[in-house]
Symmetry: C2
Subunit: 231 residues, 2 copies
């Protein structure tokens, strides 16, 4: 498959459509121009223009006044863009020492101009990382979809999982999470789940921690295969 070439804003638009139409948003969900414009920080007219350019080239399916979804080629391109972004984030955190929640902001500035070749070498130099610094998976080069992580609140007692915190999380929430030891990549084990949307009791780094439902729905987890082997 010969690599199609996209401009910076086309790539950002692909990523945004991908996120807005992820399965968790409802099956067959379409991205609306206004939401896209907000996500991209751009006027609605500009969003429309970019969508049309993508649709003309066969990367998106645009039903005017209704919404837009990605074609399989568009989804492939979006996944590549996300892979690129996450690799650059890892570079910023692993090689330059940026905090995981700073990397995001800076990666966007230059990821689009990085030659593919350099991305590939960077990936190897970083020891082929499997997640970005937020804890989300880095997709394979030709992968068509990125597995979605379940929220922490979806775990059941006995489950062991690795924490992932979205970049869009409110900084105040991030700070609170840090006091609980809930940072990306940290392993947690669910001890109890209280009924009626009650809190979770977790084992974090050896200490017991309680987390409310609202917070436990805002962060995500990579479930580990090895379940708890308790007495």
């Amino acid at each position: 498959m010969l690599q199609a070439t996209f401009s910076k804003s086309e790539r950002e638009t692909l990523k945004a459509i991908y996120r807005l139409t992820a399965p968790s948003k409802g099956l067959g969900a379409e991205a609306h121009t206004g939401d896209l414009a907000d996500a991209l920080g751009v006027s609605p007219g500009t969003a429309t223009a970019t969508i049309k350019r993508l649709a003309d080239r066969g990367f998106a399916d645009h039903k005017p006044y209704r919404g837009v979804v990605l074609t399989p080629q568009g989804r492939q391109a979006a996944v590549s863009a996300i892979r690129r972004h996450r690799i650059v984030e890892r570079f910023l955190s692993d090689m330059l020492g940026y905090a995981w929640n700073e990397a995001d902001r800076l990666a966007g500035a230059f990821e689009h101009e990085l030659p593919q070749e350099v991305e590939d070498r960077l990936f190897v130099a970083l020891h082929r990382p499997s997640t970005c610094p937020h804890g989300f998976p880095i997709p394979e080069p030709e992968e068509a979809d990125i597995p979605e992580l379940p929220p922490l609140y979806a775990l059941e007692p006995g489950d062991v999982a690795e924490v992932a915190v979205p970049g869009s999380t409110d900084p105040a929430v991030v700070e609170f999470l840090a006091t609980l030891g809930l940072r990306p990549g940290v392993l947690v084990e669910v001890r109890e789940k209280h009924p009626f949307d009650g809190p979770l009791v977790l084992l974090v780094d050896g200490s017991a921690r309680t987390v409310g439902e609202r917070i436990a729905r805002q962060i995500y987890v990579r479930k580990q295969e090895n379940r708890k082997e308790s007495a």
Copy 2:
């Protein structure tokens, strides 16, 4: 000094004017539009337009039909751009393992989008290198001029120096130089200099090597303070 902001081609143009008006090209030399267009791989009309944009903002002094030179602000900006380029080259060679003559080509692709902040961290992560992989000095952030290196042929017997090879060197010449052990950063000591534009006899890595005048004018050296202490 608040950082002026330049587009990609403006920065490339600043670098090109800087190079074309370096003291070694003759004092008070002006860069001609055609040469600039060639250096940038752009049509003459495009070069004129970019020059005018720079001149309007006070970074260049353009005398129509005559030539262009940089103002002090323009020179400062050009030096910053060169510093950026050389740091990115070092990243490509030191962290990603690219050969010194490949780094050049790739650096140009994304150096312009790199946030200043990231450049600064990268410089530190690379252990504050003093030269680019070609062997040329990385200027200080606020330096107004980059010291020019003398050609190898300017050395005299007894001198010890570090080799620098321009990126623009013919690949066949680079290959030939490699057979002599003349790679960027290598230390050489001049043993003899034959008269009437005759060859140099060097000590390279313990072996005696002879280099003709034409080649010895194409590569450059950083002279070491410690002169030869021979018997």
